[in-house]
Amino acid sequence: MRRVRPAAVLMVAVPLLLALVGPWLVPAEQARTAPFLPDGLLGTDFVGRDTWYQVLDGGRSVVLVALAATALAYAVGVPWGVTAATARLRIVDEVLMRPLDLLLAVPSLLLLIVLATVAGPGVAVLVGIVALIAFPDVARIARAAALEIGGRPALEAMRMQGESWWRTSVVYMGRSMARPLAADAGVRLTSSLYLVASASFLGVGVPPDAADWAVMVDRNRTGLFLQPWAVVVPAVLIIALSVGLNLLFDRALRKEPR
């Protein structure tokens, strides 16, 4: 009954499109001038590059890191949680889940700072760290969902039919877990975006002059009073993306009546 609002679609589509297509539109050779001049469509940035080209170029890493990190967190966390939930031996459950409590007790920013320092900067490292920070939560949610599903008569009925592990634990469980996990994914993506942005503020994980929306917001803020677009445009794109994604996930989940 509820229609997807065009505003939400627009909020997601514009940043996504910019992120995916943008890098193709950037010329190979770019002139460099002084910082924060009003030249070009959106002026120049803190090292005299054209802000518009930086906007075009800088979405891919933000979006990719957030998406890849979230995907990685799920790729590891879901099997982890499901294994813990379906383990016949209680000890397996404990061995899998207790270390996660430990991981949760270490502040995520300490993890971020230390791991990024040890591993050095780089997109892959950042993805790994953000995924590492997100995955204990994912594993817990997956475990809770799997426990609930594992106790359902439908699954037991399938086992009474002699169904294979693949059909029960992967196909059926996978489909049944889709909903609780999707409910979580919207917020998880926002959190990944937020962590990526915080990492750039702390100067870890990404080079300080990378073409990256989050880095742009941070590094161009000294010029907020001279040339606000270099901060405002990437910030608005990040916000639009997360708000839009959350609105869309909300709608999708609300479709089924309670």
Binding site: A105, V114, L115, V118, I238
Partner: protein, 312 residues
């Protein structure tokens, strides 16, 4: 299992957890390139000088020996001394805990009622304009990187309009509470969303439940139905999130501390890691682990009260 036995078991497990966290943090920081001597030498890293500093700081002794000594000290509640400044770690931690706790407590004091009010208001008018506005605003606030929100607020209210102090530089946060207004707003932005949405969902479930319908039929006044019958049930799922938020607030809100110059645990953490000051980092790890465990225990006890059935 009785509540006290449950709490005791959790505490015992907590002690093991603290030990594990400290060891993990020790290994992590030890894996960082360089040591305190290199960090202290800074831009004058004459190898001979670095070696002398290393010896002066006692860093030439086996690392396990130093860690063991530190652990032995911890057993007697002695956090040791900073290798860099020589000051007791406990002093540093106590000094930094002050602002962190003040910020965390004030944030929570504001956050919980606000989030509950927003969640309840949204649930009572589900799908209405108020609900939609609340959703958009809270999700929007949730997705703004904190430092971006902070710079905008400081630029507008601190510098532009001059209504509020833009930073807490050199002020005692307790003596001049106005400096806390902007940091609090920034700290509230993210958890407000996560908690209010949980409350809203819980409230919707509760309002549609049999017991609320039953209470209405029994003639319980609408206000009491909403707030005495539905609300407590709606709060249970939010408690865990409040716990995570508290943990986050106590774990050092580095960005807010940096932007507003509030020398709390986060600042100490960043500085100590940069200085490779192992005793200080380990002391912090103890504080973080203990607060995490305490907060989660507290949350479970509250949840136990809010959802007696699930806990039984």
């Amino acid at each position: 299992m009785s509540l006290s036995r449950y709490a005791l078991r959790r505490l015992l497990f907590g002690a093991v957890q603290v030990l594990a966290v400290v060891t993990a943090v020790f290994l992590m920081v030890h894996a960082l390139p360089g040591d305190a001597a290199v960090a202290l030498a800074g831009d004058d890293p004459d190898p001979d000088r670095v070696e002398v500093i290393r010896r002066a700081l006692g860093l030439d002794r086996p690392v396990l020996e130093r860690f063991g000594e530190w652990l032995w000290g911890l057993a007697r509640l002695d956090f040791g001394a900073s290798v860099v400044s020589g000051r007791p770690v406990a002093d540093t931690l106590v000094a930094a805990l002050g602002p962190t706790v003040v910020l965390a407590v004030l944030t929570l004091v504001l956050l919980v009622p606000l989030a509950v009010a927003a969640g309840v208001a949204g649930a009572l008018r589900e799908g209405g304009p108020l609900d939609r506005a609340l959703t958009s605003v809270t999700v929007g606030l949730h997705s703004i990187p904190e430092f971006a929100l902070a710079i905008v607020l400081v630029a507008v209210f601190g510098v532009g309009l001059g209504w509020l102090p833009p930073t807490a530089v050199g002020v005692d946060v307790l003596a001049e509470p106005a400096v806390l207004v902007l940091p609090l707003v920034v700290l509230l932005a993210r958890p407000l969303c996560s908690i209010s949405r949980l409350v809203r969902a819980g409230m919707l479930d509760a309002l549609a439940s049999d017991y609320v319908r039953h209470a209405r039929r029994l003639g319980v006044p609408p206000g009491r139905v909403r707030f005495a019958h539905a609300l407590p049930n709606a709060l249970a799922p939010a408690v865990q999130q409040v716990a995570r938020t508290t943990d986050w607030l106590l774990g050092g809100v580095i960005v807010v501390e940096a932007v507003f110059v509030i020398p709390g645990l986060g600042t100490v953490l960043v500085d100590a890691v940069a200085a490779r000051d192992l005793p200080v980092v380990q002391g912090l790890a103890v504080v973080f682990a203990v607060t995490t465990i305490a907060v989660n225990l507290l949350a479970d006890l509250v949840a136990f009260r809010l959802a007696p059935r699930a806990a039984a």
